[in-house]
Structures are given as structure tokens and as C-alpha cells.
């Protein structure tokens, strides 16, 4: 447990230091969401209608930023070698890294939603629904993206490969996240149905992500 705590604290500490990626995602999120009303024009009814989808898309893209560094940084400076030699199981270590990444990049996105929702003229109910679905859904984005981050290390190709690999896998999360947020506002379905499927997707990715990423990292040793 000490080893996992150590990893979690170290990654969070690095993320909030100068050059860390903690605020980059939120700033990108802010940029995307503020640009959309300029592109669409001052049609408040339209903005209100597509607001949840815009927030979800922005959060999805923002959560991919910095994900390619999740393992690549440790690989480049030799830390990954030592982590592999530790007594802690690689799956749990990888999960701890994912958790640290989510706390520093995913959680700030959720916290930013109330502010950004006002820019899109969403009412409090819709803002609450989007924030709740993002809280449930962004861990899935991080833990699915983790597989791509491990592949980027194993295949020695960072950067562009990651979104290409990861984005298709995040489609179900996007679909159920947006539909849960929208049904809370306009119906006709119950909010609970898509929301529970979203939660199930997150739980599945929490299990599959670390195992797949750990297997990929072991395979990519050199």
C-alpha cells in the first residue's frame, strides 16, 4: 500500500508543479467551450439544446491532453524500469497512476462545468446533470486512455497515435454520458437508465484499463 500511496502522491505533486499538466486540460476545456458560441452565433435556444453535448465533447478532448505522458515520462527517465522491479503489482501501480491523473486532470473538468455551463446559458438542473455525468464518466476516459498511453510507450510512437487509438473506444462513454445529461433536461427517458449504463462503462474500464495497460507495458520492455 505504501508503494501505491507513494506513486499517487508523487504523480499528483508533479502534475501541480511548474510544467505539470494539471491546469492545461481545464484551460483547453475553457477555450473549446467559449469558442463554440462564437462559431454558432447568439442563438440561446440552440446553445441550451446542444450545451450538454458541447461540454461533454470539450471534456473528452481535454481529458486526452497530457495522457500520452502518463507512462512516456516514466519510460524516458528510467523510472518505469524501477517501477517494474518493485514488489507492488504492476496492475495496481498503473491504476494508482491513472487515479492520480484523473484527480489532477479529470476532476478539475467536473469542477469547471458550473462556470462553463453559464456561458452556454444552461439552467441549474442541466448544469448539475452534466457535472454528475462527467463525474461518473471521466474516470472511464482516463482509464480507457491509459491503454493507449501504454501502447504509445510500447510502440515508441507518442502524440498522434494516442487519440487515434483511444477516441473510438470512448464513443460509448460519450453516447451514454450525453444522453444521460440530456434526458435530465428534456426527457423523455428516465435519467437513471443511461446514467447507470455510463456507471457500468466506468466500472468496466476501471478493471480492464489497468490490466491491459500493465500487459502492454510488460510487452514493450526493451
Amino acid at each position: 500500500m505504501t508503494a501505491l500511496w507513494a506513486i499517487l502522491l508523487r504523480d499528483m505533486r508533479i502534475a501541480v508543479r511548474i510544467g505539470g499538466g494539471a491546469l492545461m486540460g481545464v484551460l483547453f476545456f475553457l477555450a473549446v467551450v467559449t469558442l463554440i458560441p462564437f462559431a454558432i452565433g447568439p442563438d440561446q435556444a440552440l446553445l441550451r439544446k446542444i450545451g450538454p453535448a458541447i461540454l461533454w465533447l470539450g471534456a473528452l478532448l481535454a481529458s486526452l491532453l497530457g495522457l500520452d505522458r502518463l507512462f512516456a515520462a516514466d519510460h524516458e527517465d528510467g523510472s518505469l524500469d524501477l517501477i517494474l522491479m518493485g514488489a507492488a503489482s504492476l496492475e495496481l501501480t498503473v491504476a494508482a497512476k491513472g487515479l492520480a491523473h484523473w484527480i489532477t486532470t479529470g476532476l478539475p473538468l467536473v469542477l469547471a462545468v458550473p462556470v462553463l455551463g453559464l456561458l452556454l446559458d444552461l439552467d441549474p438542473l442541466a448544469i448539475g446533470a452534466v457535472a454528475l455525468t462527467l463525474l461518473a464518466g471521466t474516470p472511464a476516459l482516463t482509464f480507457i486512455g491509459m491503454i493507449g498511453a501504454a501502447l504509445a510507450v510500447a510502440l515508441r510512437r507518442g502524440g498522434l497515435l494516442l487519440p487515434v487509438l483511444v477516441l473510438p473506444l470512448t464513443v460509448p462513454v460519450l453516447i451514454f454520458g450525453v444522453s444521460a445529461a440530456e434526458t435530465a433536461v428534456i426527457g423523455p427517458l428516465m435519467f437513471g437508465t443511461p446514467f447507470l449504463i455510463l456507471c457500468a462503462l466506468t466500472l468496466m474500464s476501471l478493471v480492464i484499463g489497468p490490466f491491459a495497460a500493465a500487459a502492454t507495458l510488460r510487452q514493450g520492455l526493451d
Binding site: 507513494a6 528510467g78 518493485g86 514488489a87
Partner: protein, 204 residues
């Protein structure tokens, strides 16, 4: 095998507790590959590594320290934080961590971000990791690289103390290690006669 190329074959050696093995050979002979094999970071194409004795419930890599070319330091964290992380990760005793920075001569720089360290100071910090979390097997890849004379002297003292405590060192090196009575394994040359004695490790 590395990158689809066979690096070496027919290597056979044993190292007992309290002994050091110097792995020598030309550049590209496979010194680093051999150390990474022992560290469990590469899979041997053929042959095996055996550890007799040692903690029964831990694998060979879990009882080894690997000091590679890369120092495994985070530039954003301070010297103290870098060491404290590896200490916590490897689960060393608190007593060993406190003196480790002092031992390598970095106690004055404990609060400085590792980004500002020189190459030699980074190396010293990496060496401090070996002391902060005791493990019986040290795998050192050109440990004296970038160290000044005083640093090399201190490393020799540390290695000698480690051997005296029954530890085991496998070091890839070009120059002399400065330890007396070191066994040598030359890679890339005709295979020497098999080492004898009840060893801790063998890789036929």
C-alpha cells in the same frame, strides 16, 4: 536477443553473496543487456537465471537494485522528494533513508529541484536510492560515469560496505572498480571455462 539480434550466447557465471562481478567488454557487447536480463527487464531467449537463498517470497528483480544509464529522477521534485519517493516505493526502513543524502554528499541540496542538479549530482542521488532502500543485489551499469574522484571513492566505500554485509554486486564497467578481488566476466570474447563453486546465480 535485442531488437531481433542475438547479443550474446554461452554466458555462464556464478556470483555468491559478498562477491562482486565486473562485466566488461567492448561497446555493444551486451553488458547492459545482461544486467537488464538479471533485473527481469528483458526475457532471455534461452537459458536461465537462478537465485538460491534470499527471501523466499520475493522474486529476483524484487531483491535487486538496478542503477542504469538513466537516473530515474523527476526534475520537478526536490532532491529530498525524489529520494523519499523511491524509499517509500521500495519500502525501505526509515533509518536508512535519513542518512542516505548525507552519505552521498547531497544533504545541503535536499530542497533543490532535481532539474538543477549536475550530471554527477544526479548520479549521486540515484546512488542514494541504493542505500535508502536496502536490497541484497546491486546491478550497476557503469556506476562511476559522471562521478568525480571523491564521488568514485565514496561509491567504492559503499560497494565495499554492501559486500561486507553479504550483498552481491554485478557491475558493467570499462575501468577498474577499485574493489579488490573482483571476478571478471568478459562479454564478446571466446567463452571462458565455466565458473565453479556453489553459486547464487547462473545463466547458462
Amino acid at each position: 536477443m535485442r531488437g531481433g539480434r542475438e547479443v550474446f550466447e554461452g554466458v555462464n557465471f556464478t556470483v555468491a553473496g559478498g562477491e562482486a562481478l565486473a562485466v566488461t567488454g567492448r561497446n555493444g557487447a551486451g553488458k547492459t543487456t545482461l544486467l537488464r536480463l538479471i533485473a527481469g527487464l528483458l526475457e532471455p531467449a534461452q537459458g536461465r537465471l537462478e537465485l538460491t537463498g534470499g527471501a523466499a517470497d520475493a522474486t529476483l528483480p524484487e531483491q535487486a537494485h538496478y542503477l542504469g544509464h538513466r537516473d530515474a529522477l523527476k526534475p520537478a521534485l526536490s532532491v529530498q522528494e525524489n529520494l523519499a519517493f523511491w524509499h517509500a516505493f521500495f519500502g525501505g526502513h526509515d533509518a536508512s533513508a535519513a542518512g542516505a543524502l548525507e552519505t552521498v554528499g547531497l544533504a545541503d541540496l535536499a530542497g533543490l529541484p532535481a532539474a538543477y542538479l549536475s550530471a554527477g549530482q544526479r548520479r549521486r542521488l540515484a546512488i542514494a536510492r541504493l542505500i535508502a532502500a536496502p536490497r541484497p543485489i546491486w546491478l550497476l551499469d557503469e556506476p562511476t560515469a559522471a562521478l568525480d574522484t571523491a564521488g568514485q571513492g565514496r561509491l567504492v566505500e559503499l560497494m565495499r560496505a554492501h559486500l561486507d554485509h553479504g550483498g552481491l554486486i554485478v557491475a558493467a564497467t570499462h575501468g577498474p572498480l577499485g574493489l579488490g578481488g573482483v571476478k571478471e566476466l568478459r562479454l564478446g570474447d571466446p567463452v571462458p571455462p565455466a565458473a565453479t563453486g556453489g553459486g547464487e546465480k547462473s545463466a547458462p
